[in-house]
């Protein structure tokens, strides 16, 4: 981080955006003095909180000024009851027990966890854990609350829970809120100000509208603007700007109606029923039940579906809906309590995991849970070596896998020291080196920035184009809409919906039961009045913009089926 100047006033609700490596976490940890007081580093210049220099102020004093909530809920909860967790900070401040009681009660009420006092923090949902972390911080009565990617591991419901609490803290108590996040639709809806960082420097600073309308900024940096803003930019570039630049659905809907006034709706081609995949079955799940012992948790109930070779399927659902359990059953890591799972012709109940690995490649959510080798090359060769393949074949497989993920020039690098996006690619290459016909990715984009997300999904897409079956799990609905052909929605351990992607988002009410919110561009299509002659359930910004531009000029008819984003 170099020469950063930033002033934030009491009561502001500020988003910090930037690519990975833009120093978002650094600035978060500087605010409460963890940098440079606990973690080393050279700090020139100063960070002043209410005029107090963080370098010279004690941790306890700063802790009463600035609270911080981190990305991973597990690392910030260390006691065995909700109440003890919230009391931890005030106890450290040596407050009298009566006052601690009072503060605990207030903090828990504010985050709506009153009634949970005696619960084990580890038994809470993701959204509840993050709210508990907020309570534990606000019990110290800070003026400023920093959330460092605190919603990025949560499902949409968890995100909403945390946001409503944070907004109340801002509005009711005038607390200053700083959130490092790339959830631009949420920023557009809630925040006063956006600060964009680039490689440790201030790139832009303004209101959400000023920032999202700044085309030059978005050409320079790979950060996400709301989909309606992306649409407005595309239209503007073609000479059809909306009257006012939109950042939310109602703004875009009004603007489009004005723009299209007087043009005649062109007939839209009816969506052709798509047939995906070949005839050959890749995955067959019949009446799968799974019960975790010893606690007798019935995680998956009578789940059945078939996936054909060559399909590109998204598996979505709230945390705790049974996604992970289904995945583990597909991989042979768990054996069905009852029912049948056949993957690539193998009955997972009787097939060894190492044998399954020949057919199914698995990409773990957190790359750091499997990287161990000293070079990329060695890491990728690990699987084929375990299969005791011939040396030439191993070399060939490693070369192919690295080429597929675009790491052929980084063979000698040390994986743990690579940037997060590259670490994910090493993990994908490691799975590909076994040349599986099926690839399963478990939340592969968690913790990745916009560029990383699309790079990973484009690799998945190229694997799909080679004829491999791709199944991925994600909370990121824009990615589902853009890449998946078919979606299976799980809810409460059961299959709620199983349909082509267009079909899924065409039923927003049913999808909301599984606590899933369609992408913003689909919401725009659904919000427009009927008879506008625009797609009802557009999946991508490109589809929508092509349909609109078509009204002015027929050449835009050809709609790209997938993202043409350059990454």
């Amino acid at each position: 981080m170099t020469h950063l100047n930033l002033k934030i006033s009491q009561g502001e609700f500020v988003a910090i955006m930037g690519e990975n490596g833009a120093s978002k976490s650094t600035i978060c940890q500087m605010l409460n003095g963890i940098i440079p007081n606990s973690i080393g580093g050279r700090l020139s210049g100063q960070v002043l909180i209410h005029g107090l220099n963080t370098k010279e102020t004690g941790i306890s004093e700063l802790a009463t000024k600035v609270g911080i909530v981190l990305e991973d809920p597990e690392t910030q909860l260390f006691t065995t009851s909700v109440k003890a967790e919230v009391a931890f900070g005030p106890e450290n401040l040596s407050l009298p027990p009566d006052e601690i009681e009072e503060r605990v009660a207030w903090a828990l009420k504010t985050v709506r966890l009153n009634g949970y006092e005696e619960r084990l923090p580890s038994s809470l949902s993701g959204g509840q854990k993050q709210r508990l972390a907020i309570a534990a911080n606000i019990a110290m009565r800070p003026d400023i609350l920093v959330l460092d990617e605190a919603t990025s591991q949560l499902d949409p419901v968890g995100v909403e829970e945390v946001l409503s609490v944070v907004r109340e803290l801002n509005q009711k108590y005038g607390m200053t809120i700083l959130m490092a996040t790339d959830a631009s639709e949420m920023i557009a809806r809630l925040m006063d100000r956006v600060v964009v960082l680039n490689q440790g420097q201030l790139e832009a600073d303004g209101t959400p509208i000023q920032i999202f309308a700044n085309t030059a900024l978005f050409n320079k940096l790979m950060i996400r603007s709301p989909q309606v803003s992306q649409l407005a930019t595309l239209l503007k570039n073609e000479g059809h700007p909306l009257p006012t630049f939109p950042i939310t659905v109602p703004e875009a809907s009004d603007g489009l109606q004005t723009l299209l006034e007087g043009t005649t709706p062109a007939p839209i081609d009816p969506v052709k029923p798509a047939v995906y995949g070949s005839r050959e079955l890749a995955i067959q799940v019949e009446h799968l039940d799974y019960i975790y012992q010893p606690l007798d948790v019935h995680a998956v109930k009578d789940v059945s579906f078939e996936i054909r070779q060559g399909e590109f399927v998204a598996l979505i659902g709230q945390n705790g809906s049974g996604k992970t359990t289904v995945l583990k059953n597909l991989l042979g890591l768990l054996r069905p309590t009852s029912g049948k799972v056949i993957v690539a012709g193998q009955d997972t109940k009787i097939t060894a995991v190492a044998e399954m690995a020949r057919h199914v490649g698995f990409v773990l959510q957190n790359p750091d849970q499997q990287l161990f080798a000293e070079t990329v090359e060695e890491e990728v060769a690990y699987g084929p070596k375990n299969l005791k393949l011939a040396k030439e074949l191993i070399e060939q497989r490693v070369a192919e896998a690295l080429k597929l993920v675009g790491l052929e020039n980084k063979r000698e690098e040390f994986p743990p020291a690579m940037p997060k996006g590259d670490r994910a690619k090493v993990v994908i290459a490691s799975a590909l080196a076994l040349d599986p016909s099926i690839i399963i990715l478990d939340e592969p984009t968690t913790g990745q920035d916009y560029r990383g997300c699309h790079q990973i999904m484009q690799i998945a897409q190229s694997l799909h184009e080679q004829g491999r079956t791709v199944v991925f799990v994600t909370h990121h609905m824009a990615l589902v809409a853009e890449y998946a052909q078919r979606v299976i929605v799980l809810s409460g351990g059961k299959v709620l919906l199983d349909d082509v992607t267009e079909g899924i988002f065409a039923k927003p009410d049913v999808v909301r039961q599984a606590c899933i919110i369609p992408p913003q561009i689909t919401e725009l299509g659904q919000a427009l009045p009927a008879g506008m002659g625009l797609p009802r359930n557009p999946l991508t910004v490109q589809t929508m913009s092509a349909a609109i531009l078509n009204r002015f000029d027929q050449k835009f008819l050809a709609t790209p089926s997938h993202s043409t984003l350059r990454v």
Partner: protein, 263 residues
């Protein structure tokens, strides 16, 4: 499913004991267990531990999972003791006579291995008995009231709690590597198993370091260690029941030692 913090909430007599009573129980009994020299005494100790496990209503399936982890170690102990323990009652003729009773399976060797296995099992039941029934913050408070500095007490309890976290983390890593066709942990030879270790240990160590650093950030932001005289929301007091338990523990320990050296 592994829980992050190994605490099983409950309302049993054992849960209600003062943490100091449980710490005394843990410390003096673990010393006593090492003093046990006779199989019947070891059996009695083991039976008492099992009864307490039952009293605390802890799940027996968890106990069984511990025993399963121990089985290979017990097997190894049997092998070593059977071969190397000097004894006079040979059961099986030695394959390679080494001399002076070494290298042959003797009754004394087997009995000694049984004793070791019982002691090991008693220990492995006793430690979680305390850890699983005491919330971390209460455990730390107990240590502070016994005179330990707060930071040290808290660091020790946190370390105890890292064990289940690392267990969970290890199983994720093992699964990830199994899905890369690693089979050494299921059917490999000892050499293959040793060779496979870096693939587990490296991600485990790197992950733990990252986790520790983030935990420190979270603790600092909640003023951990801000002052030496910290207050406590919950207070603990030694009740009559706790004193009875401590007396019983001391009496039981003396009984074990007397039985071991006098009998």
């Amino acid at each position: 499913m592994s829980s992050l913090i190994a605490y099983y909430p409950g309302n049993t007599l054992f849960h209600k004991l003062d943490p100091r009573a449980k710490i005394i129980f843990m410390v003096i009994l673990s010393m006593a267990i090492f003093a046990v020299q006779q199989i019947p005494v070891a059996l009695v100790v083991l039976a008492v531990m099992l009864c307490l496990w039952f009293v605390a209503r802890l799940p027996f399936s968890v106990l069984w999972s511990f025993i399963k982890v121990l089985l290979p170690i017990i097997g190894f102990l049997f092998l070593v003791q059977a071969v190397f323990y000097p004894g006079n009652t040979p059961l099986i003729k030695p394959l390679i006579p080494i001399g002076r009773g070494y290298g042959q399976v003797t009754l004394e060797g087997i009995l000694f291995a049984v004793l070791l296995a019982l002691r090991l099992m008693a220990m492995i039941i006793m430690l979680p008995l305390v850890n699983f029934t005491t919330p971390v913050q209460i455990f730390a408070l107990g240590m502070v009231k016994m005179g330990l500095p707060y930071r040290l007490a808290y660091t020790m309890t946190t370390a105890l709690n890292l064990v289940p976290i690392l267990q969970g983390e290890t199983s994720v890593i093992v699964d990830a590597q199994r899905l890369r066709a690693m089979q050494s942990f299921e059917k490999g030879t000892l050499v293959e198993k040793l060779k496979a270790y870096p693939a587990l240990v490296t991600p485990l160590v790197i992950g733990s370091m990252r986790r520790a650093q983030l935990m420190a950030v979270a603790m600092d932001s909640r003023a951990f260690g801000a002052s030496k005289s910290r207050t406590y929301l919950e207070d603990i007091r030694l009740h009559v029941g706790d004193w009875v338990f401590i007396c019983l523990t001391v009496a039981f320990t003396i009984g074990i030692i007397v039985a071991s050296y006098v009998m």
